[in-house]
């Protein structure tokens, strides 16, 4: 691992940028509540694939970007994504060997933790969730995970991001 010269950092940055952009685009009609948190999913992927490069600090900074973009409390998504990165880093050795569909269940758990953290903070500042729908993005994320995983894996291999 030490001998590997890190390269392709711009691909990682670009994928986060694309995820931030995607998180601003709504899903159509009835699927709207299921819009996954793309940023968290991209973060989970990179933490799993390159745990020596992407970690808690990266998650925190990207989360701060999401806060600014969404007009949320500064630090809210930063905290949640740092936690997601931590969970991924603690378990990546086990998850990495699963098939994408089995990985999706672990991803669901991480995304649920993220949603709950974000909504705890929302509750503290006076926006308690009104119903259970706030957990729907985690389910959407689980369904979209295999697709995202395959796309990002191919991108990583093609550009030889290490």
């Amino acid at each position: 691992m030490m001998a590997v010269h890190p390269q392709g950092g711009w691909i990682i940055a670009l994928s986060f940028l694309a995820a931030l952009l995607l998180s601003g685009i709504p899903f159509p009609g009835g699927l709207a509540p299921f819009r996954p948190d793309w940023v968290a999913m991209v973060l989970i992927y990179w933490c799993m694939a390159l745990p020596h490069r992407v970690g808690i600090g990266t998650g925190w900074l990207v989360g701060l970007g999401l806060d600014v973009l969404r007009g949320a409390l500064l630090g809210q998504h930063a905290l949640a994504l740092a936690a997601v990165a931590y969970l991924t880093l603690q378990t990546y050795q086990r998850i990495r060997i699963f098939s994408p569909w089995r990985q999706a269940f672990s991803v669901l758990v991480f995304l649920l933790v993220e949603q709950v953290l974000v909504f705890w903070i929302n509750g503290v500042i006076g926006y308690p969730p009104r119903d259970g729908w706030y957990l729907a993005p985690a389910i959407g994320g689980m369904v979209c995970w295999p697709l995202l995983f395959v796309v990002l894996r191919d991108v990583r291999r093609y550009f030889q991001v290490t």
Binding site: W60, G71, L73, A83, I125
Partner: protein, 290 residues
């Protein structure tokens, strides 16, 4: 090999602590406004990029419209303009008369309001808060608490004004309350947001009040943020519960809040006293109280 990595836990602790400090400072104090300004300006290109497909679609629709369709639209708009002009003539005389009568009564004269047009940056925010982002900011004179309307009626008010953009809280946000009046009877109450774009709640109307479906709600002007008389919604449902002292009234906003493209920001009439808006509104709760 699968043991918990203590350094990672420590680092998580540090980052979480930093996030908590940041959130506390952001929530309680106003020190971070400058930081947020800078950050918001740097992400402005992102907002622009997100909105680009929608903008391109509208541009294409406008440019690829057939000549016949354009002629049709032209004729329709011309007809509408004649109609509106006729109405406006009546309005001008009425307004002049109103002002004369008011000055006779020595009551305050309602200054005519000016508007600033802003476009929605087609960005979907947090789905649990009805906030939208518009492409006008402090540079253009937008201020926190500024009323926002569209062609049909009230949309909401500015909740945060950055340098080039501003966030608007919609009247349907669950944390928003709007002082209103039922046009037909003059009953004053509040319209609370419900989190549903089609629904406003009027919780404090006594059972014996005369409210019917179809009644128009207008802003009452209390609270000092919204001027009197702008349409807000129409009553769609009136239910009486014998056990409760208040009627259950649901209204639908007249503005199509889920498909906004252009909004109007009312500029502050010069005679409105500064103290009408609270000096330090909370960072996340600008809703008005009656």
């Amino acid at each position: 090999m699968f043991a918990i990595n203590p350094t990672a836990t420590l680092r998580l602790g540090l980052w979480v602590a930093l996030a908590i400090v940041l959130m506390t400072v952001d929530h309680r104090y106003r020190y971070l406004d400058g930081v947020r300004d800078v950050l918001a300006t740097t992400v402005y290109p992102l907002h622009y990029l997100v909105g680009l497909p929608t903008a391109t679609k509208h541009w294409l629709i406008e440019n690829l419209a057939s000549r016949g369709a354009l002629l049709d639209e032209n004729a329709r708009l011309r007809e509408k303009q004649v109609f509106l002009n006729a109405q406006l003539q009546k309005l001008i005389t009425l307004e002049a008369e109103n002002r004369r009568l008011r000055s006779l009564l020595e009551s305050s004269v309602n200054a005519p309001e000016r508007v600033l047009i802003a476009e929605l940056l087609a960005v979907d925010f947090d789905p649990y808060r009805h906030h939208i982002l518009i492409n006008r900011g402090r540079r253009h004179g937008v201020y926190v608490g500024q009323p926002v309307l569209d062609q049909q009626g009230v949309i909401g008010q500015v909740i945060r004004a950055d340098l080039f953009t501003a966030s608007v809280i919609l009247a349907t946000d669950p944390n928003h309350a709007l002082p209103i009046q039922i046009h037909r009877t003059g009953v004053r109450t509040l319209a609370l947001g419900t989190g549903n774009f089609q629904k406003l709640e009027l919780p404090h109307v006594p059972n014996h009040e005369d409210v019917q479906t179809g009644d128009l709600l207008i802003t009452s002007g209390l609270g000092g943020r919204f001027p009197h008389g702008y349409p807000v919604g129409t009553v769609t449902e009136v239910g009486f519960d014998p056990g409760s002292p208040f009627a259950r009234i649901i209204a639908r906003p007249v503005a199509r809040l889920d498909r906004i493209r252009e909004v109007m920001l009312l500029e502050k009439p010069p005679m409105l006293p500064e103290s009408a808006t609270p000096a330090t509104p909370g960072p996340v709760d600008p809703p008005e109280t009656p």
